[in-house]
Symmetry: C2
């Protein structure tokens, strides 16, 4: 294990200093290699599919596992898009000259060895390998057991391209020991690993957060809220509520709770009910809500729940301050929206809500690296430090200070 | 404990949203209150001094503990300087408009509840309390046992100013349980604490890094290097080596090892020896060094050691690549300098050394928030993520995205 980790560390020093044109050439060759080896990938993917069927995995899961020619083409396309992104390494983030003439530059550099733990979809293997390589990092990957053959062949094809270009194959590596014990061990190897990004179930993320000594950027749950203010535009309120909940359920940036100002509740709740019924959304309301519309009851526990399903809880609140208090108490600091035409209430909401993304009059579904214009997305961080909210490729860098002198000494 | 932590969390939501003029007024009142309560502080400080003498603490440690009227004035002066800094909260770090008209702003915000663990000097209590308050954070402080009475009275005086201004006194708090068990417990309270900054001995930092689930920004050791390239200017080489080692020994940004290119070794080593002798520095050399100058022998272990004393190890290396390899192997990623007039070697060193601060032709002693122009210093981070190198008040913030729409929904 130590020997392998030392190799990834050594590889990281090489990858961190590659010029952009070489990185892009390698990425384009990786994209080509996946396509030209489609048959090989599909063959190994079938082994995973057989395992999935033998173990009665759900049809949704089997569909996420499945690779065919079109899906492999999409993987290659994603790599080509990543190669087209601006190099995140070497950006000058800040710079100034001191009175003594020292010139200080704050420059973006690669993080080093980045461990990524994920589930199911084999395309994450090639996506994250490409994102890490482009940002000068070594990708140390662990996919789900159910995709092990698919992930292994994808990594092997990418490694062959690295070797053909006289680069260390360890720049794209799979965890040497994917067992729970192996993972428990590697997340304590802070001498070798610089960052771990767990993407997956709550249990996995909790286990890693509580046991890692390597820094962790979590991609955890989203318990997001929309608040319809008394000064909301009715059409915007309905459109945004519906879109934030139903455009795609089961994602972290969908809303779970709708807060409605009591001054507008009687007017807007019946319209919301009619509209949500078109999308077959189950509504669960507080007592005040249920005095206005006839829907299921929301228990206190409903306001703590990330449904990841077509269900929404509704609560009538007394103004923006109460809405903010509710969100700061129950929320997961992910994404929240106020719908209002009132300047002061909008500003108050933007400033006092402690979430990664706070919206006025727009759907929370925009919390996404691609939608933010970052290009390929690493994920949505629920950390407060290092990276917060949608993570683009720039968030796979850290920085160092370069200081240019001509003989300065400290007095 | 839970109740106390909830109070600090609640306080953090208030402090995070205070306007700059209120924060500055409170800080100036804190500065005044320390001065006008000098007698009280000195009286309680004496209890710590008595404990120190009873326990035979070193005279150096006793001197660090001692508070007198002048030192209290310095503490007040530091707070007034912090109040004069630009507010780090609310800075717009980035901003752009998407094609659909959504305006995205990335804005600096307070981190939340920041735990700071430190030793000895009681002035750290008022310094860090003021830095945290200015940056909208709650300071949760734990000083050393040897300074407990001094820290308690300082915190009490600051809290009285908070209460006089109708602010929660928990905005400046001492750890409720300072025992090792208490610390072990609190560093796992990630629901309440947002960041822990340990400043102190290696044992303390290791314990916290290995046991915390709260994110940690370490202020760890510095094993710094100077490399004298074949194309070095002799005067710069000598001045910078001497200054980097001797301007103050026992600090993290002093160099421990001097690497000398073999092409210049015969010329420069005797001059370095003469100069270092004026400063009574003990020189320990590799075999090649000792063929040129008569000094003590450096064992392999010397190159792994942060002396924190007036000792330096010297190694002759074969060019800049070998120097870089040595530093990346033995260094602590803190501060390193190349002395050279050669453009290519300077660039190579700046790019390939993986340290927080990499210098050309200037003393490593400049790695310091004050010297960098940050004003008051939080410390020097040896983390790779969140904050790296000298930490100013801006590094006590994180960010959120504010997104301004006019009805956008996701398609």
């Amino acid at each position: 294990m130590q020997e392998f980790l030392q190799k990834t560390k050594d590889a990281s020093q090489i990858v961190a200093n590659l010029k952009g044109d070489i990185k892009n050439k390698v990425l384009l060759e990786m994209a080509d290699a996946l396509e030209s080896n489609s048959a090989l990938i599909i063959k190994d993917n079938e082994k995973d599919l057989i395992y999935a069927k033998e173990n009665n995995l759900s049809s949704a899961l089997v569909d996420r596992l499945l690779l065919n020619s079109d899906r492999i083409k999409s993987m290659s396309k994603a790599i080509r898009e990543i190669s087209a992104l601006k190099d995140p390494v070497g950006r000058v983030l800040d710079g100034w000259v001191l009175e003594n003439g020292l010139k200080i530059e704050k420059v973006a550099i690669a993080i080093g060895v980045v461990g990524i733990i994920y589930e199911s979809r084999p395309n994450v293997t090639s996506d994250t390998a490409a994102l890490c390589f482009k940002s000068g990092n070594v990708a140390l990957l662990k996919g789900g057991k159910e995709a092990q053959y698919s992930n292994a062949i994808i990594a092997k094809i990418l490694q062959e391209v690295l070797e053909k270009n006289s680069l260390p194959k360890e720049a794209v590596s799979l965890f040497p020991d994917s067992s729970r014990e192996g993972v428990a061990k590697i997340i304590k190897e802070d001498k070798y690993l610089d960052l771990i990004i767990p993407r997956g179930g709550e249990g996995l993320i909790k286990f890693i957060s509580q046991n890692a000594t390597v820094p962790v950027v979590k991609h955890d749950k989203g318990l997001c809220h929309a608040y319809i203010d008394c000064d909301a535009d009715t059409k915007k309120a309905i459109d945004i509520s519906i879109n934030s909940k139903t455009q795609r359920v089961g994602v972290c940036n969908a809303i779970e709770t709708l807060l409605v100002d009591k001054a507008i509740a009687i007017e807007i709740l019946p319209k919301l009910k009619d509209e949500f019924e078109k999308y077959n959304t189950e509504l669960r309301g507080c007592e005040l809500t249920r005095e206005i519309i006839n829907i299921n009851e929301a228990a206190e526990s409903d306001f703590n729940e990330e449904y990841l399903a077509n269900i929404i809880s509704i609560k009538v609140v007394d103004g923006v301050n109460k809405a903010i208090a509710h969100i700061n108490k129950y929320g997961s600091e992910h994404s929240e929206v106020i719908i209002t035409e009132n300047y002061t209430n909008a500003e108050k909401f933007l400033n006092q809500i402690d979430s990664a993304c706070v919206y006025v009059n727009a759907s929370t579904r925009f919390t996404d690296g691609g939608e933010f214009g970052f290009g390929a997305e690493v994920g949505v961080s629920t950390n407060k430090l290092h990276a917060r909210g949608p993570m683009g490729i720039n968030d796979l860098t850290t920085y160092k200070y370069k200081i240019y002198g001509d003989g300065q000494i400290r007095k």
